[in-house]
Each structure stands twice: as C-alpha cells, then as structure tokens.
C-alpha cells in the first residue's frame, strides 16, 4: 500500500495535475480570504470555508479522474494485480495519495489563519473544526470519485461522472423540497453533504457528521476494492 501511495503521490507532481489542482484551490481560497477576511476586516473564516464547498465539489473529480482509469487504459494494472499486494491495499494507496494532495491544497486556509493571527486573534477551535469539515468533505468525495474512476478506462468519463455526482450533491437539498414522497424527502435530506458540512462552518463539531463522512468514505473505498476484485471472478 505504501509503495502505491508513494508512486501515485509522485505521479501527481510529475504531471501538471497536482500543481494545477493545488493552484486552483489556492486561488479560490485566496480570493475568498481577500474579499471576506482582509477586505471585510474579520477573523471569522466560516464564510470562506462555506464558499469552498462548491469549489471542492468541482475540483475533486479532476484530481481523481486518472486514479484507477489510467491503470486500466495503460494496462499498468497488470503489474499491480499480479504483485503480492492486496487489492484493498491498491485502493487504499491510491486513495491516500489523492487525499495527501488534497490536504496540501486545503492547507492554504490554515496559512491564511496564521496570517490573520499577526493582526488579530482568530478563534482557532472554530478554524480547526472548519478545516476538519473541509478535509472530511473532500476525502469522502475522493473516495466516491475514485470508485467512479474504477468503472471506466476513460479519464474524461471518470471526470464527467464525478461532476454529475458533485452536481447531484449540490442539488440534493433542493430536490428534497420539490418531491412529494416523504420517503424520498427523507432520503434526499439524509444524503445531503451540505447539511452535514454546514455545522462545521458554524463552529459546531458533531460526531454523527464525522461518522457520516467517514462511513461514506469507507463504503466507496470498499466498492473500489470490489471493482478491482471483480476482475478475478468475472
């Protein structure tokens, strides 16, 4: 698993992908930091984290589109699958590499908090809670998009499928309002990432929300493993 994590992490920076992803997150977080914190003269970073929700949803499919699909297209999966490495380890290694790049990207928000600390005292527990929320949101979406990438050999299809899922996750709150069935309303509300993420931005650290993101991540990592393992039995 560690070998695959190292290889995938390095691969992000041997192509423009890792740099572009980090630059894009830095750009948006920098822009929101300037407009809401520096220009608005406040140490409250909750608005910045709130606005990063759609940014993360749209950038993560780009980060994960090649994770599994490229190996299938290039047939490099043959090396991985014939090596003495558990298939779950392959999925975990790739997931870990994408999460590490994501962590580097969102760490910009912590740097911005440090900058604020030179001028005023930010409320660190709230900022850290927000950061954990953003991390959990992103790592969950990475798990979902990695599973989508394992379904296809095409990076483009993997990215488009990721965008569709992201769009669904943004619209799912609105869907709960327009359907009449109480079952569907409950389903859409329970699927809402926004409802689970918003408490973090308000400075509320609720364990069920943490468990929600962790369990969805675990579910999709296992699904990726199952998709890798399917080849043995299909």
């Amino acid at each position: 698993m560690v070998a695959i994590l190292k290889r995938e992490f390095r691969a992000y920076f041997q192509s423009p992908l890792g740099y572009v992803f980090i630059a894009a997150v830095y750009f948006f977080s920098g822009y929101y930091f300037f407009t809401y914190n520096l220009y608005g003269a406040t140490t409250n970073m909750s608005r910045l984290y709130e606005l990063l929700f759609p940014v993360v949803l749209f950038l993560i499919p780009v980060l994960t589109m090649r994770l599994m699909s490229e190996d299938k297209r290039l047939k490099t999966d043959q090396l991985l699958l014939t090596s003495p490495v558990p298939r779950l380890g392959i999925a975990m290694g790739k997931y870990g590499a994408a999460v590490a790049v994501y962590l580097i990207a969102i760490s910009s928000t912590l740097l911005q908090a440090v900058v604020l600390a030179f001028f005023a005292a930010p409320h660190w527990p709230t900022i850290l809670g927000n950061f954990v929320g953003l991390f959990l949101l992103g790592s969950t979406l990475i798990a979902i998009c990695m599973a989508l990438s394992a379904l296809t050999e095409s990076q483009v299809i993997a990215a488009v499928a990721g965008f569709v899922v992201s769009l669904f996750l943004m619209l799912v709150d609105a869907l709960a309002l327009v359907v009449s069935s109480s079952f569907l309303q409950a389903l859409f509300r329970n699927l809402s990432f926004n409802d689970r993420y918003t408490p973090f931005t308000l400075g509320i650290f609720e364990l069920p929300n943490v468990v929600f993101f962790l369990s969805i991540s675990a579910l999709f990592i296992l699904l990726t493993w199952a998709l890798l393992d399917r080849q043995r039995w299909s």
Binding site: V2, A3, I4, K6, R7, A11, Q14, S15, L74, K75, T76, Q78, L79, L80, L81, T82, S83, P84, V85, P86, Q231, R232, W233, S234
Partner: protein, 310 residues
C-alpha cells in the same frame, strides 16, 4: 512447482480454456505453443492471478492462486505480453517501485544492479521509461520479472516485436533463467519454443493437444517411427531379415551408397522404437549396420498436423 487441474475459463459464450491440466517440475522450461487466440495468454493471466478461472485450480509452490493469492504471487515473476510501464518514471525509480511491491528490502541496491547488468540495461537506469526503445523496454520487463529472484518466471510472448538480434539475446536470457527458476513461456513462433524449451504444451482452441518434449513431439506426429539405415549386404537378404523383425512394418530400398552397402527407409509401428528391432534382426542375420539417421519431422509439421487433426 506448478499444478494446474481442470482449468476452464469462459468469456460469455466463448470457451477460452477447456479443462486444461498440466504440472511443471522445478527447473523445467515449459513452452506454451498455440496459434493466436489459442488460450495461452488467458492461461498465463490465470496462473499469475490477474484474472480468475471459471473453474479449476492452480497451485504455485504449494499455494492455491485463488485461496492464497499473495503467497502464490510472491514466488512469481511475470512478463506480460502487452508491456505497460509508468512512462513518467526513470528506469531506476520503476525498478525501486517494483521492489517495493515485491517487498525486496535487503541488499536491494546490489540486487537491482546485478539484474540490470544481467539483462543489459545497466547504462539506462537514469532514462525515462517512455524514452526507451522497444528492445530496452522488453529488457526492463525482464528485469522487473526477475526482481526478488522468483521461483517461477512466466513470460508471455517474450520476443514479440523484437528485431532478430534482440530475439537472440532474449533467448539466451530465457535459457540462462531456466538454470535458476522454473520457466513457462508462451509463443506462437515454433522455432523459438523448440530452441528454448525442454517441454512443450500445444494449446488449440483452449484445449491441450499435446504435452511432450520437442523431440518426442516430432517423432510421435509421424504416425510410425521412421529412420534411414545403411546396411551392408545384398538387398534381398536385408529385406528377408527385416521382414521377420516384429516392430518393422515397411522396408524400402533407397539407393546404393557404398560398394556393397545400401540405404533403406525403414518404418516401424506407432509409438515403438524401431532401432532395437532393427539391430536384433540384422545381428541374427549377420548383416552389419553401418549407420542410422532419423527422419524426424520439424516441429512446424507436427504443430500443423496436430491442429489440423482437430
């Protein structure tokens, strides 16, 4: 070392492998011979755990590839037919990565260096993999298969797409490999299999048509064992003596070669060594046997006969 029992693989309606059984002993160099689509790559993909079988078992060094895949894969080095590398890595990085996958830790630097020298890529270790020529990529494929000194090396069409000089070098490599590991290689090039392997399995439409040494395959496909013998003595005495020999079915006079010696084409019954019958019959008649020569068919003929027979 390798035990394959009742191996069957279906792709939808297509039967890619049909109840394939064979064993490979330690140190054997086994050739899987067959036309394109015969099932060679499917068999190798199952042996290496890349895909699963529909039914049947594969046991590598005592480990079932389905039940204990990690232990089985740990003793296998695999060179797939379609070589795929991470082009953005340098040769050294790539081999380090494979060492990580195979958990080669102790003496890694020396081990990698010795394998690079062995396969002839020691001067290429700083090159990006994507910039290597086809021949060097093939050598890199060999190098990654040999990392960790695997007990079993599986080579799928190892010389495909190489130029003649590269083919000669790769053949030398495989022969040398056979001294330290059990080797299975596939090819549809008959001369290659004949030159390298100690045993051949002929696959056709997913079935095993033959399983023998290259020499025996050549003989068995004749239908009856044939040979050319030069015998001293009058032809009528020779023919009379050989007509009483139990295993000889036909004697045909070819031509006179020496002052009192003639060449004869002698044919024996199927699956019987005609040489012993010939010697005894001539000894009884006091007719000196001056020389003998085989009329073995080429492996190409054998292969075409076997395939046509189906």
């Amino acid at each position: 070392m390798i035990h394959v029992q009742g191996l069957t693989k279906r792709y939808g309606d297509k039967l890619a492998l049909d109840n394939v059984c064979f064993d490979v002993r330690p140190g054997e160099v086994l050739g899987l011979l067959g036309l394109n689509g015969a099932g060679k790559s499917t068999a190798m993909n199952i042996l290496t755990g890349y895909i699963g079988a529909t039914s049947g078992t594969v046991v590598i060094d005592g480990h079932d590839i389905a039940d204990d895949p990690l232990a089985a894969k740990a003793v296998i080095g695999y060179l797939p037919e379609q070589l795929a590398f991470y082009g953005d890595m340098r040769v050294r990085e790539y081999l380090d990565f494979v060492c990580d996958l195979k958990r080669v830790r102790e003496g890694r630097r020396e081990h990698v260096a010795s394998i690079c020298t062995r396969v002839g890529i020691d001067r290429m270790t700083d090159r990006l993999v994507r910039n290597l020529s086809r021949g060097y990529r093939q050598r890199l494929g060999f190098a990654q298969a040999l990392l960790g000194n695997p007990k079993v090396v599986i080579l799928d069409e190892p010389t495909a797409g190489l130029d003649p000089s590269q083919i000669v070098e790769i053949r030398k490599l495989v022969r040398a490999l056979g001294k330290s590991s059990t080797v299975i290689m596939s090819s549809h090039v008959l001369s290659e299999i004949q030159a390298i392997c100690t045993r051949i399995i002929v696959l056709h439409q997913g079935r095993v048509l033959a399983d023998d040494t290259p020499e025996n395959l050549g003989r068995s496909a004749q239908g009856a064992h044939r040979m050319i013998a030069r015998i001293q003595g009058r032809p009528e005495r020779v023919e009379a003596a050989l007509s009483r020999a139990p295993g000889i079915t036909q004697v045909r006079l070819l031509e006179q070669r020496e002052s009192d010696a003639f060449d004869y084409a002698i044919e024996g019954v199927r699956d019987r060594d005609v040489r012993a019958d010939l010697f005894r019959a001539l000894a009884r008649a006091d007719l000196p046997l001056l020389s003998t020569g085989g009329v073995e068919s080429s492996l190409e003929q054998v292969f075409l006969q076997l395939v046509a027979g189906r």
